[in-house]
């Protein structure tokens, strides 16, 4: 069976990118880091290929980190495994669709 992976590329990252098709609410993914370390995570929400989930719980107002750098701030409390995108992440430097 094809592995369903969510990848974190920096140890500081609190989100991971999903590389699996048709991930649905309640599915289990392999959460991997750059050294190949692996743990299971249960997804909240339907997550398209290439989109992000929280790798750990993130509180409202907390910075969201990917590539070891801040990509935005959480607008709500986000659970581990929850879908993270423009509905719960605010860019600090402007966003194109607003």
């Amino acid at each position: 069976m094809e592995r369903k992976i969510a990848l974190r590329v920096d140890d500081k990252d609190n989100v991971a990118t999903v590389f699996a098709n048709e991930v649905r609410d309640g599915d289990t993914l392999e959460l991997r880091d750059k050294k190949g370390g692996c743990e299971d995570v249960t997804v909240t929400g339907d997550v398209p290929y290439g989109h992000k989930i929280a790798a750990q719980a993130i509180e409202k107002g907390e910075k969201i980190v990917k590539y070891g750098e801040v990509i935005g701030v959480a607008t709500t409390d986000i659970r581990r495994g929850e879908y993270v995108h423009v509905h719960n992440l605010d860019a600090l430097r402007g966003r194109g669709d607003l």
Partner: protein, 392 residues
């Protein structure tokens, strides 16, 4: 000696990974003659650009400076300049400054020689002489610190930022730690991430290099604004958001990650050749392949590591381009253009570090003479010179 490779030592002390005679048309109007020469003479490559006449003085200087830097490149053993006779490029300076690096330089002038066919004939004889003069040179062992690697991403997709760019970032850090030089560019990709790069600059965000990073982004945006376009508004695009990018920072970081994590030593202007200061550098070049490949070769890079997801096939006349493909499906479909499959990272078969080590091993092989896939099939004509102003 620690890690080393075998290269061609040049009179200026640099080491080439290739040993080529470059045929350089000084202007687009000399390109057909240059092509005739390159077609006939083995061991030559041509820089078939489209500039050098009817441009503003600032651009004519830029064209001259860029061609000089290309001629000084470590993969070039000798140079034949093909001049028309009435171009705007400064041909005398072109000839002198390349010759000052100690390489053999010949020149022919089409109008003086009596036209196209005579110039091609004379050029074949001159290029043949240069090839015979330089092709017997043997490779010598050189420390890895002599390497100048350029990096780029193109035809990107969701996998690029998470797989192939991370692999290149790993190699970039490793090379810098070994005392070598790495150069990245694509100023347009810095939008939204310039503060992160500026913080990595030697001297910090407010230092000379940090301020220069803001400056090159600002002047690029101003050039777009001068013709009525705002590059920052509308980022990330609706298509980016549909693809999973949530902010302009995230989009920018996906490209920046290929530069690794080391401090940025300085910013090179587009025609500039590297300085003696090793480490990680930025070249102010746009993302489009012909212009950035030329700008990177003009930096003195012996090779480029190029990340792609959808499958970019480009090469350059005198600089091998190693394709690192982040998308496993693209690699399967285009494996005769792609040199390394980083898609195994997103399928969970390999880690970034494992593929990073494979990429570093491949880099050494290519430095030692192994051809990249684009070289082997002669896909290497991607070049042009990035100019600023209108043509006249």
């Amino acid at each position: 000696m620690g890690t080393s490779f075998y290269g061609y030592k040049r009179p200026d002390g640099k080491y080439g990974a290739r040993n080529l005679v470059a045929v350089i048309p000084s202007v687009i109007c000399a390109t057909d003659v240059a092509q005739g020469i390159v077609h006939q003479v083995q061991g030559t490559v041509g820089y078939f650009h489209h500039q050098g006449c009817c441009q503003l003085p600032i651009d004519l200087k830029r064209v001259t400076d860029t061609l000089i830097s290309l001629g000084k490149g470590p993969n070039v053993a000798g140079v034949l300049i093909v001049s028309l006779g009435c171009e705007g490029t400064d041909v005398e300076r072109l000839q002198k400054e390349i010759a000052d690096s100690g390489k053999p330089v010949e020149i022919l002038r089409i109008q003086e020689l009596g036209g196209t066919s005579r110039a091609i004939q004379a050029g074949i004889d001159l290029a043949q002489k240069l090839v015979l003069e330089t092709s017997g040179l043997q490779r010598e062992e050189a420390d890895i610190s002599n390497v100048i690697m350029s990096i780029k991403c193109g035809a990107s997709d969701t996998t690029s930022g998470m797989a192939s760019n991370c692999v290149i970032g790993y190699v970039a850090d490793k090379l810098v730690d070994l005392g070598a030089t790495v150069i990245f560019g694509e100023t347009t990709e810095f939008l939204g991430g310039e503060h992160i790069l500026a913080r990595r600059a030697v001297g910090g965000e407010g230092g000379f290099v940090g301020r220069k990073i803001y400056e090159i982004v600002d002047r690029m945006e101003k050039r777009a604004k001068a013709i009525g376009e705002d590059m920052r508004g509308g980022q990330p695009t609706p298509g980016n958001i549909a693809g999973g990018l949530s902010s302009i920072e995230e989009k920018s970081l996906g490209a920046i990650v290929k530069s690794g994590h080391r401090p940025i030593q300085g910013v090179l202007e587009y025609p500039d050749f590297v300085t003696d200061q090793k480490g990680l550098w930025i070249k102010d070049a746009p993302g489009r392949e012909p212009e950035i490949l030329t700008g990177m070769a003009a930096s003195g890079a012996q090779l480029m590591m190029f990340s792609t997801g959808r499958g970019a096939p480009q090469g350059f006349p005198s600089m091998p381009v190693i394709k690192i493909c982040g998308n496993p499906n693209t690699y399967e479909r285009m494996q005769h253009d792609m040199d390394l499959n980083a898609g195994r990272i997103i399928t969970g078969e390999k880690t970034i570090e494992e593929v990073g080590e494979e990429a570093f091993a491949l880099l050494l092989k290519v430095l030692n003479g192994q051809m990249t896939k684009n070289e082997a099939i002669h896909y290497f004509a991607t070049m042009d010179i990035y100019c600023l102003g209108p043509v006249i």
